[in-house]
Amino acid sequence: MNAPLTMHSFPRAILHIDGDAFFASCEQSRRPALQGRPVVTGKERGIAASMSYEAKARGVKRGMRLADIRKRCPEAVILPSDYETYSLLSARFFAIVRRYTPDVEEYSIDECFADLTGLRRPLRMSYFQIAAQIKKDLDAELGFTFSVGLAPNKVVAKIASKWQKPSGLTAIPGRELHHYLEKLPVENVWGIGPQTTALLHKHGVTTALHFAQKPEP
């Protein structure tokens, strides 16, 4: 069974924007000499709070102890968290998105949702073009990349922004939604944690599409 779940592509157009490796990226943006090098923040806590993609490529994971990081990746630049800088750049991030729509939900320091519904005519761009333009402004003006997902609702927008990372721009229109959900394990859906996953697996539900096709109880 592989029929579309809905025939409308964007009954609403919701954007989810996520800063790639936000804290580490802020450090690289502020100190260009750090660009291209493995950067880890969280020195004051003794564990990795955020790591650049260069550090991720060398196997550094969130929560890893600094002693282990130094062993695994001796060239890593380990910095204390500088929340003042991160929140300044975060405020600029949201201000740039608000140039396009006033309807922005600041979800955390490094991610937000933006409702673009109805903006095609005033901006004279398609939803995808608006999303691309916002991403272009963010990447250029903040000096590091963002991953953007465009979808008919918040849950799918989050799936879209994670689809390609870092620096992704993925649109999941309603009429193509089933192709994406088919490939997505149900535990990767926002709000489905280990308990719900275990319950769903008991009922033979493994993909997000399978879950979406289940009738309401």
Binding site: Q35, Q129, A140, E141
Partner: protein, 171 residues
């Protein structure tokens, strides 16, 4: 901003290329800007900043009394708040352009440099501030100090930001 057809109606030109040439000039002057899709947007010089007054280097003029308008330094110096950053100058390579060690720079990210702009650039993995020069298809960096030679990038040149203002405080 107007479409091609609307431009023809406004300007009275009969051909689209004529209108395109006009638009290209306005883009060069930063009065207009075109986005990725080729649509026209207002450029950063489209809205002019009011001139508050002039100062004669002599006795104060009674006309100063009439200048009741105020101005904000942020508004005067910064075009795009979100893209503007402050850097502190080290080194003397831009001395003859009036930029001295210890000065503060307001730099703007995410803009394309024009010939003659002062830029913050990464050239062959090192960071520097220099004049951006474009000669035909080649670009190079030039210092404002005769002790430094022009830099012709061997591998790659990344322009991180364009310098918009220099601030010096006489404490």
């Amino acid at each position: 901003m107007p479409s091609d057809n609307e431009l023809l109606a406004i300007t009275g030109f009969r051909s689209t290329p004529a209108a395109s040439t006009l638009v290209a000039r306005l883009v060069d002057l930063a009065l207009l800007d075109d986005d990725v899709t080729g649509r026209l947007l207002s450029g950063h010089r489209f809205v002019g900043l009011p001139i508050v007054g002039t100062v004669a280097a002599g006795f104060p003029s009674p006309a100063d009394e009439e200048l009741t308008d105020t101005m904000s330094l942020d508004e005067y110096l910064i075009a795009n708040k979100e893209a503007t950053y402050i850097l502190k100058v080290t080194g003397d390579s831009m001395m003859d352009a009036g930029i001295l060690p210890g000065d503060l720079l307001l730099v703007e990210r995410g803009v394309h440099p024009r010939d003659g702009d002062i830029v913050i650039a990464q050239v062959d993995r090192a960071w520097t501030m220099k004049f951006f020069r474009r000669r035909g298809t080649t670009v190079f960096l030039e210092a404002a100090n005769k002790d430094y030679k022009p830099i012709h990038p061997q591998e790659e040149l990344t322009i991180a930001a364009v310098v918009r203002a220099v601030i010096r405080k006489y404490a």
